[in-house]
Amino acid sequence: MAKKFLFVNRKAPYGTIYALESLEVVLISAAFEQVVSLVFMDDGVYELTRGQKTDAIGMKNFSPTYSALGDYEIKNIYIEKESLEARGLTLDDLQHLVWEDEDDDWAEKDSIHLVSSKELASIMADQEVIITF
């Protein structure tokens, strides 16, 4: 019986390692055939910004890895609208994450769903295991 896992990302990238090591957990979880969802809220929305260039801080740019989530069948990705707005961001500022639907001739479909706090509340209520980073 598959369980519903939710990983909640609330931290900015690079300042701390939580965003990167959270992504490592998410990728591993794909191998367990569970129902996996991701939330990006609070400073977690900054993890998905486009055009990250880390050369000058000497750290590895791990943002390209998010685009692999689709290949791992991770396609329930929720972004909290209120967090985006507070930061003056829109979905256009973030990476465009997609997955390919095997049942629909491998059509590319959006993985990212913009949700309100209220919608997020019911998504979170529906989960069986939540790990917040």
Partner: protein
């Protein structure tokens, strides 16, 4: 599926309590632990937030963390329930899952 939300940060230092309250569901409860216990104390600029939360949700505070920080049980917001580690364990089993707002 009900959720026990744990908050371990001072509301003066971080906004995890605020974030939790934005997405909490009706059947959920909050447990304040570690530096999160300061949110439960009366007379602070955050007391009204907790007073409001108590109206709609069960709010608990971990007694051992209160005592460690010199906060008195009679100085907490009305309606907040004090539990010890055994009570913490009971809450974890009582609610369907736990979400730690780290």
């Amino acid at each position: 599926m009900s959720t026990l939300h744990t908050i371990n940060k001072s509301p003066f230092d971080r906004n995890s309590l605020g974030s939790c309250l934005r997405v909490i569901s009706d059947s959920d409860a909050i447990l304040l632990i570690e530096d999160g216990i300061y949110a439960a104390t009366s007379g602070t600029i955050f007391s009204d937030v907790v007073k409001a939360a108590v109206q709609s949700h069960s709010v608990y505070v971990l007694g051992p963390d209160l005592s460690a920080r010199g906060m008195k049980e009679d100085g907490i917001v009305e309606g907040v329930n004090v539990v010890d580690y055994e009570g913490f364990v009971d809450l974890v089993t009582e609610y369907d899952k736990t979400n730690s707002w780290l």
